[in-house]
Symmetry: C2
Subunit: 466 residues, 2 copies
């Protein structure tokens, strides 16, 4: 749909929206104009309160959340073992991405990943035994999000898995992720073959210890300082994070060359052939900062966003730990690997959407020619993606800058009020897994968060503030 | 100067220019309109012949030169020793950047660099003894350009220096450069302190052997394939080549971790702390391709461009090995390190301008937010710099693509006819050295090639074709 050449202000009877409406008319190029909140009465009434009587409380809380999202600067300090590092995980547990979910509702790629991890842990010797162990309740299943961890795609963490540990000095809290498993037949892409299990063992026995030694020798690494540089080099830091990965590897190179471990060269080869190596580091840091920004009473800002391939959930700072959940969306604007198409795709999955809450991924599409290929092909399309996200954000990042926009900050701080008002939801740049064949990744694209969870969250916040 | 809103075609009596004039009016936004060749009669007459009766010969030759510049894909194969690798160098010789020049005319930074090299070679124990060795004629001085080598800034190569060797399979020829000396007190920046001499010894004893072992273990490296990726990551591949350097280091990382040499870790630290490491690799490759494109009778395209801090010279394919020389220009659009200003600057120096002949550096300004800072501050200024270079080029690179321009090719193939006609000369992104204090680099900017050398070359080509 094209905008007409002239837009007249449509007065929907709520003068407090007039500025926003005028703003849309002035800046929008390819954005559909919408009646606020689609005209739904309960939403309009809640918006009127949250932009009206409650505005001072909400805006004050949001200012603090924005400050934390912008100020938190986590440091990567070590690679440890999941059970020892992650508080409350326990010895016979698996952590999964996305909101909490019963085993019977897990999607196919995530089930495969869990079975691969059970085999790598030595709890079962084949997939069917692994399936029994889990369905019998021998293994406890928890959402990584509820343990300060963020894990991408269909990743599952077992107790012996190596985990990246980041410290957020500003908040005094920690964040975790697994070590990125790399390309090919791997369980984070929903593969449970012996090759995928061997990769998990290699990560635990070789990559974890070598990377830990290199990081400790190098000293704490300011994660977002590297990401900020990567944005100047074509990364959106989600779908494309190769430049940041290269900066990270260069930073570690001397320490890595000095690690005294028989697998040093093999690990160096693995690390250097993984374009997405830094994805998990950035996610651990984003998770630590988002957790620090959580539980600020009154705030309408999103501080959790995650998918498990079945459901898509958000958490809002002002409504605490409560999840607002809807079916996971399909990934839009897809580019599929040869031989695959939409009918093969699993729904959107993984905790990586936490990056979009920090001004990265879809918010930073304008930084990345690679992402442009997914949102229309031209840099103008990538800029339009960023501009759309800006409409639902309360600020601009001071550290994540967009070179194509002459170093303007990336949009930061998703406000459920703005999402509901404009009906624009965050754009999430992401990979696509096969829905049921166990073949792994088959494409990539841009997922749109489902509107309903933002509406539900906003109504809950309105109730809490009344 | 701004263009008026409407440009009328000014007929200067030469209808063959009319298309070019119309083109200027149509595309130019911030480019001054000029009477072709400034109206100088001898130039206009030569242009009339070279665009007229001789056009078929010139254009045919240029097509072959353009093909070579676009097709040559040199491979980095090893690091050797200058005297053994570089044909005709000899045992007691120094190679310097830029056109041939007598010792008495060498600029201060280049003299210091030569003395540092003489000390590193063990031919003298202090700068004054080194000065005597050279001025006495004990040491033979030659232009690196005439030995298939291209060396940046005030670099000087002695016989024992480690050199990068690239093979151009398409042309069956080789190209050479030194190993980049890194930041700080180094002779390539015109420093002759003991620290600078020690760096040269470290390069010879440690960096050369370790890098050679890593490159041989990795296998031949397609130099321009890495550069093409770097252009997608914010490099112009001259002033800024950090992204390409990171790709190169990541590519070598596993081999480097396996090198059996006591200095492995120290060398890894040196390599990973040098943002300009790949500059010399790209220059060696550009030199090999430019040499292959040289000596095509009738061609009006520039295949050599180099500066020694005293003179600036070009060579044109159709006029063979002849240099056309003028005083080296000052570097424009400068940004100086704190405490330094224009009065401290040495003139433009180094062989790196060969990159501009391959569609890199100033030609690729539009790829680089970092370069934008030097040409006005905004990406629009960087794009304008590239557009200006496009006016004097005969084609667009098929491999070097500009992400900000939706992957349009970078301008390739500088034609002296177009330079003389438009009076636009190549823009060269480059560093600035201190003119006489031996303190090293004091800034960076964009040098403009002097127009006179292109005029002289075009007149010589015209004579040769008559």
């Amino acid at each position: 749909m094209q905008l007409p050449d002239q837009v007249r202000v449509v007065n929907v009877g709520l003068p407090l929206f007039a500025d926003a409406v005028r703003q849309q008319g002035a800046e929008a190029v390819d954005v559909d104009w919408q009646i606020p909140a689609g005209g739904r009465e309960d939403l309009v009434a809640a918006l009127a309160r949250l932009y009206g009587d409650a505005a001072a409380v909400v805006d004050g809380a949001n200012a603090e959340v924005l400050r934390r999202l912008d100020d938190g600067a986590p440091l990567l300090v070590r690679v440890g073992t999941a059970e020892r590092e992650i508080p409350g995980m326990g010895p016979r547990a698996l952590l999964h991405p996305g909101p909490p979910i019963e085993w019977r509702d897990w999607c196919d790629p995530l089930r495969r990943s869990a079975r691969a991890v059970v085999m790598a842990e030595g709890w079962a010797s084949d997939p069917s035994e692994a399936e029994r162990r889990i369905s019998n309740g021998d293994v406890r299943l928890s959402s990584a999000s509820e343990h300060a961890a963020a894990i991408p795609m269909a990743s599952v963490l077992g107790p012996s898995a190596p985990v990246l540990v980041v410290e957020n000095p500003q908040g005094g809290n920690l964040g975790f992720s697994g070590v990125n498993q790399g390309p090919g037949a791997t369980s984070w892409f929903g593969v449970e073959t012996s090759e995928a299990v061997e990769r998990l063992v290699f990560l635990r026995e070789a990559v974890g210890p070598v990377l830990d030694a290199a990081i400790r020798d190098t000293g704490p690494i300011d994660v977002f300082a590297l990401v900020a540089q990567g944005l100047q080099m074509g990364d959106d830091a989600h779908m494309r994070i190769q430049a940041t990965t290269n900066l990270f590897l260069r930073h570690l190179m001397a320490s890595l060359a000095g690690v005294d471990h028989p697998a040093r060269v093999e690990v160096a080869r693995f690390l250097s052939s993984n374009h997405l190596l830094f994805l998990n580091v950035a996610m651990a840091a984003a998770k630590a900062v988002a957790d620090w920004a959580s539980d600020i009473p009154g705030s309408s800002m999103v501080t959790g966003m995650a998918r498990n391939g079945t459901t898509f959930g958000i958490r809002v700072s002002g409504t605490g730990g409560r999840w607002f959940v809807a079916p996971a969306p399909w990934v839009g604007d897809p580019l599929f690997h040869p031989g695959y198409g939409p009918e093969d795709a699993a729904p959107d999955i993984g905790d990586s959407a936490v990056l979009e809450l920090l001004g990265l991924g879809g918010a930073a599409a304008a930084a990345s020619p690679a992402v442009a290929a997914f949102v229309g092909g031209s840099m103008a399309d990538a800029v339009a993606t960023t501009e759309a996200v800006a409409r639902i954000c309360v600020g601009l990042s001071r550290r994540f800058r967009l070179p194509y926009l002459d170093l303007r900050g990336s949009p930061l701080g998703v406000d459920v009020r703005r999402v509901v008002e404009t009906q624009v939801t965050p754009a999430i740049t992401t990979g696509i897994l096969h829905r049921d064949s166990g073949v792994g990744q088959i494409g990539a694209g841009v997922a749109r968060a489902p509107l309903g969870v933002f509406e539900e969250a906003m109504l809950a916040l309105d109730v809490a503030l009344r």
